[in-house]
């Protein structure tokens, strides 16, 4: 078994969170969520100390890939990131998800894939996310994309977080760090994408959970959300995380009929398509 699978198995034992295709590994307790105020305006040096707050760093090197269709942007991002994350070693960059898979080879492993939502090959963003997630690679969306439906579909497909391109690189670094540790990066954009997502109905979302989501989506920090809900900060985080889990359960990362079919075949609900009988090649 690969490291990844073992980690996943261990986690599912503790938190009961084994979703097929859902690479967001929840560790049974909430990690630090994307609290933007903590990272705003931090310089790289300061960031280093803050990073220690994030919890024990499971990996001493960070394997990162960035998928973005413009090399210049990639270069800029990667150069900037290395200042914040010294443990970042030779990040991969690719213009499309297919290129990434080609560069990665069959058994490559990455801690995080930073994925631009709109790519030059006009691929469907949710499909891109799904492909990566299915391959066991956590996905961080990096985009200026405003359309709620697109973002929510990406989350439904299993993305672990979203960072706006206009944010400071410190924020991106923080998100990468969190996701590389198997947590989801929850911020206002994430909450906004889930809130009222029409094609992602969660029937049993508790009112408190929905309210937490709504308040968080307005951009308030966790403390303020908790205060307005008159609960402790940890409780508010709990609400958010529960909401996240419910959404994850309700959203199978299958996004096209073919994939549903393939999924169904894999799950054994449908018989595998018979290979036509033909004489073997000479």
């Amino acid at each position: 078994m690969s490291t990844r699978e073992m980690t996943r198995a261990a986690d599912s034992a503790t938190s009961g969170d084994a979703e097929r295709g859902d690479c967001v590994i929840s560790r049974g307790r909430l990690g630090v969520h994307g609290d933007l105020t903590a990272y705003q305006g931090l310089s790289a040096a300061q960031f280093g100390t803050s990073a220690a707050r994030v919890g024990d760093m499971a990996t001493s090197t960070l394997q990162l890939a960035v998928v973005d269709d413009h090399p210049a942007i990639l270069r800029g991002v990667l150069a900037g990131l290395q200042e914040f994350l010294p443990q970042l070693t030779s990040p991969l960059s690719a213009a499309t998800v297919s290129d990434l898979f080609a560069a990665l080879g069959g058994t490559g492993f990455l801690d995080v894939v930073v994925l631009d939502v709109q790519l030059a090959d006009d691929s469907d963003p949710a499909s891109n996310v799904a492909r990566l997630v299915d391959a066991g690679l956590p996905v961080l969306l990096y985009t200026q994309e405003g359309r709620r439906s697109v973002i929510s579909r990406c989350f439904k497909a299993g993305a672990s977080g979203i960072v706006s391109k206009s944010e400071e690189l410190a924020t991106l670094a923080a998100a990468i760090l969190q996701i590389s540790q198997g947590q989801a990066f929850l911020n206002a954009e994430w909450a906004a994408a889930l809130e009222d997502a029409e094609d992602w109905p969660v029937p049993d979302l508790a009112p408190r959970e929905a309210e937490a989501l709504r308040l968080y989506a307005t951009g308030l920090p966790m403390k303020s959300v908790a205060r307005r809900m008159q609960v402790a900060e940890d409780t508010a985080k709990e609400y958010l995380d529960r909401a996240r889990q419910k959404y994850a359960k309700a959203g199978r990362p299958a996004y096209s009929k073919v994939d549903l079919y393939i999924r169904a075949v894999e799950d054994g609900y449908l018989p595998a398509p018979q290979d036509a009988t033909q004489p073997p090649l000479p």
Partner: protein, 830 residues
């Protein structure tokens, strides 16, 4: 529209010319074998004139003249011949011989239906038949003359009727096709608009904003070079207003198609025609080559296309495409070689595609449940659309992926089944029945010319039987055609033998006329060779009959054959016109429609590009040009870049929200050091870009300082109620107030997002510097318009939250928009 008419009329025009030629030859032949006594040079002059007119008709046909003047003149001329014959009463060699002038006269009604229209055709038929009747009355007696004139009348009416039906059908098809293509065009426009908007917006996001950001933060020449690259890229995508080369008049489809290359059409990866089901081999080839190139493969294309375009539903075409691409990816990934061959065939309604490589292969018999990419992906994708796919490989022997998809039976305007309906021809069959009765009557009138009455009766019955067989046996049952053809020959033989005097020309040869309807039906319902074979068999039958009775009389053959041939050719002409028109219609209209759709899509895309370019503004463009020139920017320039970037981003992401007042307030606020993030969406924005409804892009905002630009014409929002704009304006006022009170180092996040429960949006200010100010609550409260808005203002030690809702009771304008959120967004990948 023009295409339909011209293709149909072209066929008819040629048919008419053929009839003229046949009858001219018939007249000449008739005169050669059974001369009528014409004075002096009358007949040669007439024939010469006729020949000249026919030549003119042929020229007209070649020129595809719009108005068939030559044919009209021919009608008048040939009718005149009939009148001349009547007037002159020139005696034929035998009473029953049809004088050449009358043969020519029959051309008039044959051609009038086309030359003068259906009603003209009927009128001319009546007149011509009348003239023929009158011309022969003295020789044959009233009854017989009438009976012999009647077939001319019925034939003429049949021809006119047939033409009327064809024209009507053509119009029907045209209209239907036209409508279909209108709809497709609208859809294509909408799709293209939304796709182009998305593409353009992401272009701006990535390249314009990226370039500005990179330039502002550039510290090394490498950074500057990167920014320059981005900026240059962005600039090259800008479109000048009034852009694409005008595509002019769309009547010359092939030339137009050449202008708009397949490469550009195939950019969005859609099979041409989108939902329409084109699967042009060229499209497949283009797409596969692109993918092969990207994968670093060399692709040999050996697919046979038989000229017709395989018409598949787009889901099938896409499935084949996806499976083929996956096969190519596997070649790239697993085979160890860098070339692949695509072979197979594209036929109407069926695609067989084989991707072969000569790489290291694998044991395909072993692989079953494991390798998702190889077996599952390809086979599953194709199986889902009802096709079959197989992957065959042996270690060391390469791999072959075979994809085989049949189209379901075609429907709609792409059906290559005939557009004319046999039911349309009920009228024709009815008239044919009348003609049959007429011939029967003639036969009985001339019963004395027959040796044996019972044989005559049997032949009559047999003739009816043949006609019935030809009309009613199912088309697939080809032996029916053989039987009918053979039967006609037998009928001809027997009837000829039955004649007392086979050498005598006249209505004893009633059975020639009676086979005409059979021939016509055979021509329509079976491949044309059967009708022509029937003609041959009748002529053979007559000849054999004559031979058996005592000697072949060529004159008789010459007298009777042209009629048969002319009838067969006329039917053939009509049928070819119909069939040809249908097929040509489909192809041409589809080609034209494809062009229309492509043009529409490109127009929309270019329009969006032009609008967005304009709305970007000259200052952004100027700055981009400086960046593209890799100019070194000083600190103030860098700051300008960031300001421009932020302002552009605001307009793109929060278009509806950003008014000049808002933009100014944002700028001031940012100058203070506050972070301001704005987002806005119109309620339909999320839905429309997926659904096939006319999309609403993020509306281009009006002029915004400091990035001044001429006001961009915004993409109109569907039925924006006036109330909605007021509400938005009141939200803006609150926002401006919030921006005014936000302290330095604070973070303002304003969202305009109409949603459930009358929610409109929120404004949050996070940062203690704001909260510490006492006047915050006052200022914010003051900005709220209590009539329209219901605002929840909450302030705690770290943050201010303004939660904005629509006041209950405010007009349904907003409510309707809010209600659209109740729709479940359509899954665009379905």
């Amino acid at each position: 529209m023009i295409l339909t008419r011209s293709s149909l009329y072209r066929g008819l025009h040629w048919g008419a010319c053929a009839i003229l030629v046949m009858l001219w030859l018939g007249a000449a032949g008739q005169q050669a074998f059974s001369p009528t006594a014409y004075p002096g040079v009358t007949l040669p002059v007439v024939m010469a004139t006729g020949a000249a007119i026919i030549l003119w008709c042929l020229v007209d046909a070649i020129r595809t003249a719009e108005q068939p003047w030559a044919l009209r003149v021919a009608v008048v001329f040939t009718f005149g011949c009939g009148v001349v014959q009547w007037w002159g009463a020139y005696p034929p060699s035998a009473p029953t011989v049809l004088p050449p002038l009358l043969i020519l006269a029959s051309a008039s009604y044959g051609v009038a239906g086309f030359a003068l229209g259906p009603i003209g055709g009927v009128v001319v038929s009546v007149l011509a038949a009348g003239t023929i009747f009158l011309a022969r009355r003295d020789l044959l007696g009233t009854t017989e003359s009438a009976l012999t004139a009647l077939p001319h009348l019925t034939t003429g009416c049949l021809a006119a009727l047939a033409i009327a039906i064809m024209a009507r059908t053509a119009t029907k098809v045209e209209t239907a096709l036209g409508q279909v293509w209108e709809e497709r065009e609208t859809q294509a426009r909408a799709r293209s608009l939304s796709a182009a908007s998305v593409r353009w917006d992401s272009l701006i996001h990535d390249k314009v904003l990226g370039a500005l950001r990179l330039a502002a933060r550039a510290r090394t020449p490498a950074d500057r070079a990167g920014a320059a690259e981005l900026a240059a890229d962005a600039i090259s995508s800008f479109r000048v207003v009034g852009s694409p080369a005008s595509l002019g008049d769309l009547s010359d489809a092939p030339a137009m198609l050449a202008l708009v290359t397949d490469d550009r059409l195939a950019e969005d990866g859609q099979p041409w025609g989108g939902d329409l089901g084109w699967a042009a081999p060229a499209w497949f080839e283009g797409q596969l080559r692109r993918h092969a190139l990207r994968l670093g493969l060399h692709l040999h294309w050996e697919v046979q296309a038989d000229g017709s375009t395989a018409i598949l539903p787009s889901s099938q075409a896409r499935a084949v495409m996806d499976a083929a691409v996956e096969a190519l990816s596997n070649v790239a990934r697993h085979s160890g070689v860098d070339s692949a061959t695509a072979s197979g065939a594209f036929e109407a309604g069926r695609i067989t595609l084989r991707i072969t490589d000569s790489g290291r292969g694998f044991d395909s018999a072993q692989v079953g449940a494991g390798r998702a990419g190889v077996s599952r992906g390809i086979v599953a994708r194709v199986a889902i659309v009802g096709g079959t796919a197989s992957v065959r490989s042996r270690p060391g022997h390469g791999t072959t992926v075979t994809i085989d998809v049949h189209a379901p039976s075609p429907r709609g305007p792409f059906a290559t089944t005939q557009t004319w309906n046999p039911l349309d021809f009920v009228a024709i069959f009815a008239i044919a029945a009348v003609a049959l009765i007429d011939y029967a009557a003639l036969a009985l009138v001339h019963a004395d010319g027959a040796r044996s009455l019972p044989v005559l009766g049997a032949c009559l019955v047999f003739a009816y039987l043949l006609g019935t067989v030809a009309t009613f046996t199912p088309r697939r049952f080809a032996p029916a055609a053989y039987a009918a053809g053979l039967g006609c020959g037998v009928l001809a033989f027997v009837s000829t033998v039955n004649l007392v005097d086979p050498g005598q020309i006249g209505w004893h040869y009633w059975f020639v006329g009676i086979t005409n309807p059979t021939i016509a039906v055979l021509m329509f319902r079976f491949p044309s060779r059967w009708a022509l074979a029937t003609v041959a068999s009748v002529v053979t039958g007559i000849a054999l009959g004559q031979a058996v009775s005592g000697g072949v009389h060529v004159g008789v053959l010459v007298d009777t054959s042209p009629q048969l041939i002319a009838f067969a050719m006329a039917s053939w002409g009509i049928r070819t016109a119909l069939d040809g028109a249908t097929a040509y219609l489909n192809t041409a209209a589809a080609g034209l429609g494809r062009l229309r759709v492509a043009t529409a899509a490109l127009e929309e895309a270019d329009r969006v590009a032009a609008e967005r370019t304009r709305s970007l503004g000259s200052r952004v463009e100027a700055m981009l040009r400086r960046i593209a020139a890799a100019e070194e920017l000083d600190a103030s320039d860098a700051a300008r870049c960031l300001v421009l970037e932020a302002a552009t981003r605001d307009r793109l992401v929060a278009g509806p929200l950003v008014s000049p007042a808002v933009a100014a307030a944002v700028q001031v606020c940012r100058a203070r050091g506050t972070t301001v993030v704005l987002t806005a969406e119109s309620p339909s924005a999320g839905l429309a870009s997926e659904a096939a409804a006319p999309a609403v892009g993020p509306a281009g905002a009006p002029v915004v300082e400091p990035v001044a630009a001429p006001a961009a014409a915004p993409v109109a929002e569907p039925a924006a109620a006036p109330v909605a704009e007021e509400v938005l304006e009141s939200f803006r006022r609150v926002l401006v107030a919030a921006l005014q009170v936000a302290g330095p180092q604070a973070r303002v996040l304003a969202r305009w997002r109409p949603g459930r429960d009358r929610r409109l949006g929120s404004i949050s200010i996070v940062g203690s510097s704001t909260v510490d100010r006492p006047e915050v609550r006052e200022v914010l409260q003051g900005a709220i318009d209590g009539h329209l808005l219901d605002v929840d203002l909450s302030i705690d030690e770290e943050s201010v939250l303004v939660d904005v809702r629509l006041r209950t009771g405010v007009a349904a304008g907003m409510g309707a928009r809010t209600a659209t959120l109740g729709h479940v967004a359509e899954d665009s990948t379905n």
